[in-house]
C-alpha cells in the first residue's frame, strides 16, 4: 500500500488560499488519490478524488504532477468553517487514513 505523508498542522487566515501537499512516493499505477475532510465530532466527508493532472469541483481543486508522487489539495478563499482535519488517501482500496492535516483558519 502506498504510504502518505502530509503536514501535521497548518494555520491560515480567512480569505486566503490554502494548499495542503501530500507525498506518496510509492504510488502504484492503478492508485487513485482521494481527500477527505473531518469536522470535530463528525465522520469524514469526501472532498475530491483524482488520478492525474487537475480536478476541480465546487469545494476544492486537486493538483497532481506528472510523476504522481505527490498531490496538492487547494482550498480557495478559506473561511472559519474550513477549520478541520484533512486526510489524503492513496490506493486501490482507500481503507487507510493517516493522521491527516489539522487546518486552523483564523479571523
Amino acid at each position: 500500500l502506498a504510504k502518505t505523508t502530509q503536514p501535521i498542522s497548518m494555520d491560515s487566515y480567512e480569505g486566503q488560499e490554502v494548499n495542503i501537499t501530500c507525498s506518496h512516493n510509492n504510488i502504484a499505477t492503478n492508485d487513485y488519490i482521494t481527500w477527505y475532510q473531518q469536522f470535530p465530532s463528525q465522520g469524514p466527508r469526501f472532498i475530491i478524488q483524482g488520478y492525474k493532472t487537475k480536478v476541480t469541483n465546487e469545494v476544492a481543486s486537486l493538483f497532481i504532477p506528472a510523476d504522481r508522487k505527490s498531490s496538492t489539495l487547494s482550498l480557495p478563499r478559506v473561511s472559519l468553517s474550513d477549520t478541520a482535519v484533512y486526510y489524503c488517501l492513496v490506493g486501490p482500496d482507500m481503507l487507510t487514513f493517516g493522521g491527516g492535516t489539522r487546518l486552523m483558519v483564523k479571523p
Binding site: S41, Q42, Q49, T96
Partner: protein
C-alpha cells in the same frame, strides 16, 4: 434513511462489560467499514465487509473485538470485556462497492467511554 446511521451515539460502560455498536448503511451499499478514532488521533481501520463477508479480520485490535453483517445491511461491532483503552469513537462507513474509487459515506460515530 438518507445517510449512514450509527447507534448508540454515546455509550458509557464499566470495564469488563460487553458492548454492541450498530451501523445501518445506506441502502444498496454493498461495502461497509468500521474504523476506530481515539481522541485527537487519525482513523484506525478495523474491518470491512463486502456483502456479508469480512475477508480480512486482521485489523481488529484483539480477539475481544468481533463484527458481523447480516442481509447485506446492518452491521454490529461487539467488544467483549471492555478495557479503558477501548475508549474511542467508532465510525462506520459504507460505499456502493469496495472503495477502489468513489467515496465512503460515514456515520456520525458511536462514542464509547469505558470507566
Amino acid at each position: 434513511g438518507a445517510g449512514v446511521s450509527q447507534s448508540p451515539s454515546n455509550k458509557v460502560t464499566e470495564k469488563g462489560k460487553d458492548v454492541e455498536l450498530r451501523c445501518d448503511p445506506i441502502s444498496g451499499h454493498t461495502a461497509l467499514y468500521w474504523y476506530r478514532q481515539r481522541l485527537g488521533q487519525g482513523l484506525e481501520f478495523l474491518i470491512y465487509f463486502q456483502g456479508n463477508s469480512a475477508p480480512d479480520k486482521s485489523g481488529l485490535p484483539s480477539d475481544r473485538f468481533s463484527a458481523e453483517r447480516t442481509g447485506e445491511s446492518v452491521s454490529t461491532l461487539t467488544i467483549q470485556r471492555t478495557q479503558q483503552e477501548d475508549s474511542a469513537v467508532y465510525l462506520c462507513a459504507s460505499s456502493l462497492e469496495l472503495a477502489m474509487t468513489g467515496e465512503l459515506f460515514f456515520g456520525e460515530g458511536s462514542r464509547l467511554t469505558v470507566l
